[in-house]
Point group: C2
Chain length 294, copies 2
């Protein structure tokens, strides 16, 4: 019998993940936004509540936005924990922070639930074709139960440790670099333009040598469109990095590691948020550093 | 007749460049450090002064460390300008800053000399096999005269503008990213270790995804050796980035662009210098952020 997965949270990542998993699993879906539920109705059983979606599911996959949504979907008024049987597997794909996940896992163990900490990377397009990077922290039992789903989601699957939170650790380090590299690309292209260089030509030269990064190649071309009417297409919201760089600097502080660049990058994203750019593409940080084309 | 190039400055970059150019040109060489001159004696005419090396040369190639050495080799007590004929080409391969090069070019024009601003990137190994990235600012006449030498040095040759200083502009933007990416890699690997992840495994995962950068792949493995006895082999001195990030932040300030990450990176390198790490490999910045392995 095909396993049933309840996918809770049908946002930028949850919806394409659910659509892709529907090729191999029976999907029951729910989002607090009714329009997102409708978008999932063609490939899944769109449910009227999280509890309804989770009831009877073999695995509950959570694609929530942040720690508040996580607590709400587990233990809130429409929380799923009361409807789950002992031994149920909760597969958390969100980046919510190390201590948050450790706390949640601890509470769930007391309720005889298994948490698989499996934050994903790669963005919506790759989510839609099972091409994600997934870093996992989970014990053998939980990992074994979630493995078929994880393998369907990921092109690169790395179990980095046996404890929930270990996946978040790896994702936190990953986001440190991603967040710094995007902000650094913005600084470089803003400076190139201000110095009178052709930004597109500069981007090509930079990407060919020691200055190259994945993010320069990916976000750089979008930064060149950031000053156009409406800005670059939103592929990754700026406020994701407000959240993630907050997780990074909190984690670093917690273990006593100095991260001045990550801290500076966090301020750039916070400034972007303060300037009303939360829902814009993260490439628009270049307009925080250099608001106008001179 | 084979053109003669005077190579002044036989340091980490100058010596391998001179050795490589000796395959195609007659080389006359000089360095203020006599031991460096000896190292060049097997493939060039090692001279006793900069003036002696420059006399009669078709092109004077400068591979100096900084702006002070540049001024000294041009106009100091052993400065070459007095022995050069009008129309001589001075090929500057060093990263010394935009305004410095514009000022020098202005003075040289008054003395009927042509300056080719051609800062190089790629490190000593690539310098030795003509595999450098060279970004050039020069007018048509100067560029035309220097072209055979530039082509011999570079695998990627980009003339980014017609004025001396334009090459420095491009190099400045390049170094912003290089300096930030190295410091960010150090933050990431220090954090990974402190969070209990295996640093080598983390490096492999990071390098496979959106967190990747050229510098992470190049310096990351050296950072893993930074805590070993003696540290990583010195392939690129830390104090080069003290100089280069100073050039970056000065340039950004000059054109009114905010570069908080570059500024934070500059402080990390300055701190490394203050801790006596000037002559160590730049990968040792990880020990600035995390002095001991916990």
């Amino acid at each position: 019998m095909t396993p049933t997965i309840a996918v809770l949270g049908l946002g930028a990542m949850g919806l394409p993940m659910a659509r892709h998993l529907a090729q191999s699993f029976t999907i029951r879906s729910y989002d607090i936004d009714a329009s997102r539920c409708s978008a999932a109705a063609d490939f899944s059983t769109a449910c009227g509540s999280a509890k309804e979606a989770a009831t009877g599911a073999d695995i509950v996959l959570l694609a929530v936005r942040n720690r508040d949504q996580l607590a709400e979907v587990l233990w809130g008024s429409d929380g799923v924990v009361p409807v789950l049987v002992p031994g149920s597997v909760i597969l958390l794909t969100s980046t919510v922070g190390i201590d948050v996940v450790r706390d949640v896992a601890h509470q769930l163990i007391n309720q005889e639930m298994l948490l698989v900490d499996a934050p994903v990377s790669g963005g919506p397009v790759r989510a839609g074709c099972g091409d994600l990077l997934v870093t996992v922290g989970a014990d053998d039992t939980a990992y074994g139960k979630a493995l078929p789903v994880l393998e369907a989601m990921a092109s690169t699957l790395k179990r980095v440790g046996p404890r929930p939170g270990d996946g978040q650790c790896m994702k936190t380090v990953n986001q440190l670099l991603c967040g710094v590299h995007i902000a650094a690309a913005a600084e470089a292209l803003a400076l190139a333009r201000a110095l009178g260089l052709d930004p597109a030509a500069a981007l090509e030269i930079l990407g060919a040598g020691a200055a190259a990064s994945f993010m320069l190649g990916d976000r750089g071309p979008r930064m060149l469109k950031a000053y156009d009417e409406g800005g670059a297409e939103v592929l990754s919201r700026l406020d994701i990095f407000v959240k993630d760089m907050g997780i990074v600097t909190t984690a670093a502080r917690g273990v006593g590691v100095s991260t001045p660049l990550a801290a500076a990058a966090e301020q750039v994203y916070l400034m972007g948020q303060a300037h009303g750019m939360s829902a814009r593409d993260d490439s628009s940080v270049i307009t925080v550093l250099a608001p106008t084309v001179s």
